[in-house]
Amino acid sequence: MDFTLTETQSLLKDTAERLVREKYTFDERKKIVAADESYSKALWDEFASLGLLGVEIDEDCGGIGGSFADLAIVLEAFGRGLVVEPYLSTVVIGVGLINTADKGDRRKDLLTQVAAGTLTLALAHGEPKSRYSLEHVETRARKDGGDYVINGAKAVVIGGDSADKLIVSARTDGNATDRNGVTLFLVDGNAAGIHKRAYRNMDDRGAAEITFENVRVPESAVLGPVGGALPLIEAANDRGAAALCCEAAGAMKAVNEITLEYLKTRNQFGRPIGKFQVLQHRMADMAMAEEQARSMVYLAVDFANEPDAAERAQAISAAKVQISHSGQIVGRGAVQLHGGIGMTIELVVGHYMRRLTSIEKMFGDIDWHIGRFAAA
């Protein structure tokens, strides 16, 4: 656990923070969210040119060959900016899976494209009945000659609305909740037989319900071991949760700053409302919640790529629980302290609450993570 920044990290921090400050103002973000496209392709190109898409990608693929701790720096800045671009689905989940599970030319090709900003990815795994159970996969991939034919439905696929390629989990063997028998496939986002219902989530990120109707892929579409993908999916889920912890830390810091400023400037009963002790203490609790969350970010970052699945699970779950609790205290507190004005969509405060609420519900909620932590 290292609390100081490396030189690379300082650079990344400056880059990402400046980008958010200058190019991702609340007004700019509004335009992005109001557009038909689910995210700004122009900004995505800029992410690429700044090296932000290749943080964990090897240098020979055009990346900077960094660590999750490096990625965390970018994620925190993006949390502050409430960035809606498919960074989580492509750079955290997608790159993580390819880094671990793929090899050879395809790996190099995919990572090079991601780093260059010409390829977005999404993991299509959760299903209408799976909730947070990672082993619950009803989608099936049937062997047909040299191909696989995929049938099933995937739910709330983050980034699935716009991803160039989907990483789809499907059963090649076993029953709906068996740990074995799940395989990952790399599938074109607009392959024949794919139907998408696209929407935005509460945090304005793009997502989709995706059905697969006899989607035919060659054997070479398999990513990782046939029937043995669950450990990869669990690792991806933990990386996703860890990434959200980083985003949440950025979001909490930002909304706490905004709320503190409001307390100092909003007058009621002839004085700044920050002079009322009850509001002071609530703000103090929000500041302390942010600090406790930040501490757990270090834990999450430390364990995000931990190969020991049991250790990783416990650490990530602990972090996610704390961050979720802190997020509730900070998000709800910020709205309450702002009063009526905090309820409006024109103020960024409510959007932070929406982001923090979404973060709480993604990659396992409090109940799921606390259960996993306690069972360890």
Partner: protein, 393 residues
């Protein structure tokens, strides 16, 4: 669990329930239960049914066309209507301006306004808060100055909820700047069609248009628009805000939501078993149900006690709103990933299947919007201030 009411009250409850089940159009009930937007036409449809039955404006005495319920009947009526999925009565006409009219309205005002409030022909909104005055309402700055027999109003009001549907407004304005803040405020009522009024939507973070900011640019109203005496508006407002607090507990609505929460959590499975059987979740639901039960009895006690309410009135607001929020949080917990897809229309689409499960679309927006209940009607911080004053601190 349900409380045992005395026999007479239980009979009345059955009567109300039978009426609502018979007369409330299923389509409206479904919208209410699924937390979808109730249109003005839905609201008027239900109001007509109530008028026909003689139960419109249940808080009103008989002399003004109300049903003349006693306090217990009143509470039962509200609770059962809400439990059964009837649209909530709009508070502004029946509950807020009317008691002021009963108390200090002129005979002409009463004769003109009350019958049409009852039928919802006159749909009221409230002009109280301003950009600079939220919890500190008495600092409001919208001015009315006398000009011949008229008053001319200039200023801006915030949070004029439903002003886009309303055709009348009651509002507080400053009519004297020389005296203590509370002593220079008057109350006016007039049509929203009066020239000089501009209503601008405020979209809340659930993505919906519930409320507005309303601008008054040389709005000229006759002296008959003044309620009671000039500069006495603060006293009338306090009367009216007291009413807001008790109805804000929304016990019937919370009972309805609790029932739906249990039903939903019985359908949703986690790792092969219904969520409702997952003991940590089940216990959290039970804890809310118990608090709600206690609150219902607290309301009955407040009614039985009569007279001016003490700590209970504030308690009803504080606990009632906290319970509403907890229920929305539990719904979000129940929804899991399907709480994420965000749909400001709350599933009111043409032809589209709901995402996830039937009522999922309303849970996110409802969770967000319900953050307001600890803010409006006197924030919970203000309520606790009042409690501690009542206690002598």
């Amino acid at each position: 669990m349900d409380l045992k009411y005395p026999e007479r009250a239980a009979r009345f409850a059955d009567e109300v329930r039978a009426f609502v089940r018979k007369e409330l159009p299923a389509e409206i009930r479904d919208k209410v239960q699924r937390r979808q937007k109730i249109t003005p036409e839905d609201q008027r449809t239900w109001q007509r049914k109530l008028c026909d039955k003689g139960w419109a404006c249940p808080s009103w005495p008989k002399e003004y066309g109300g049903p003349g319920f006693d306090v217990m009947e009143r509470m039962i009526f509200d609770n059962i209507c809400s439990e059964e999925g009837a649209p909530s009565a709009l508070p502004f006409g029946e509950l807020m301006i009317s008691p002021v009219l009963f108390a200090v309205g002129s005979p002409e005002q009463k004769a003109q306004l009350l019958p049409k409030i009852r039928t919802l022909e006159y749909w009221f909104c409230q002009g109280f808060s301003e950009p600079g005055s939220g919890s500190d309402l008495a600092s409001l700055r919208t001015r009315a100055v006398q000009d011949g027999d008229d008053w001319v109003i200039n200023g801006q009001k915030m949070w004029t909820s439903g002003a886009h549907n309303a055709n009348w407004i009651f509002m507080l304005v400053r009519t004297n700047t020389e005296v203590k803040q509370q002593e220079g405020i008057s109350m006016f009522v007039f049509p929203m069609s009066t020239p000089g009024i501009t209503v601008r939507p405020i979209v809340t973070m659930d993505g919906e248009h519930h409320t507005n900011e309303t601008f008054f640019d040389n709005v000229r109203v006759p002296k008959t628009a003044l309620i009671g005496e000039v500069n006495k508006g603060w006293t009338y407002a306090k009367l009216l805000l007291g009413h807001e607090r008790t109805s804000i507990a929304r016990i019937g609505q919370s009972k309805r939501e609790l029932r739906r929460l249990k039903a939903l959590a019985s359908e949703i499975n986690i790792t092969g078993a219904p969520l409702m059987d997952h003991t940590p979740f089940r216990d959290r639901v039970a804890a809310v149900e118990i608090e709600l039960l206690a609150l219902e009895i607290t309301a009955l006690r407040a009614i039985a006690k009569g007279g001016s309410p003490g700590v209970e009135a504030n308690l009803l607001k504080v606990k009632g709103s906290e319970i509403q929020q907890k229920l929305t949080e539990l719904f979000m917990d129940a929804a899991g990933p399907y709480g994420l897809p965000f749909d400001p229309d709350r599933g009111l689409h043409d032809g589209n299947e709901p995402i996830g499960f039937d009522e999922a679309a309303s849970l996110g927006p409802n969770y967000l919007m319900t953050r307001v209940v600890t803010i409006y009607g006197g924030s919970n911080e203000i309520q606790r201030n009042i409690v501690s004053k009542t206690l002598g601190l």
